[in-house]
Amino acid sequence: MAEAPPDATRIAAEARDRVRFEEEALALSDQVYRVARHLAGSREEADDLVQETYARAFRSWRSYQPGTNLRAWLLRILTNLNIDRGRRAQRTPPTQGLEANDYYLYDRLTESDGGPSDEERVVERLSQDDIVEALASVPHDFRDVIVLVDIGDFSYQDAAQILDIPIGTVMSRLHRGRRILKRELAEFVQEEGS
């Protein structure tokens, strides 16, 4: 059997690398979607964003460095596409007054009537819909960080790279964002209790 010409060997090796890349990227799609669902404004937008992300990733797979965090690389593409779609055109409104202290939600829940009251189960008074809606109403600068760190399990460092902001900003937005989320959740306690 004749030896394959060097070009053919190179092309075959590249095809193998590409197939491996695609398979690894697809294996992460559930995790990418879970985060995208709440970075985007709706299910439909998340659906489109994830498709655009994968289309772009498959085209530019050569710029991914094997051995680095592929999930973070995909999310970086997704975040940039989300910005390109003009979402950032809406400025985050000033958040003064949106925050409550860290113990506010717990105190509200335990003061309201009905349902479990111990500290580990009182949260069950909030429905899944309440939580999804409350998260959606957190201004996106804060929500992005919560979604990446608390839902997507990214490190502060990865979140900083994905969003292209300093790590200190990740930490402060996370801290404030969680308080804003709790404030939003407390609104549901008030409405249901009244």
């Binding site: 799609s29 939600l105 189960r121």
Partner: protein, 80 residues
């Protein structure tokens, strides 16, 4: 850290998020734990925060639609 000495629970509240994120220094961690050992009021609120985080994460985790998974697989670039 100064200025909180008159209200240890307010100080404990400030430390809650970094405590649960494991980003406190050893000294601060020790300080928080010391207060939590003595203060049931704060202890309950820390436990609540912990369960809230798990609850939120579970509540907002939606499985990817099966059609989307198929669409992504179809985006792969065919081998020539």
């Amino acid at each position: 850290m100064m200025g909180h000495n008159d209200d240890p629970c307010a100080h404990c509240e400030e430390m809650m998020q970094p405590y649960l994120d494991h980003t406190l220094s050893d000294e601060e961690m020790h300080e928080a734990e010391h207060h939590l050992d003595e203060c049931e009021w704060c202890r309950k609120r820390y436990r609540f925060e912990q369960s809230l985080r798990v609850y939120v994460r579970t509540a907002v985790s939606e499985p990817m639609p099966a059609e989307l998974k198929q669409k992504l697989a179809a985006l792969r670039i065919p081998l020539n």
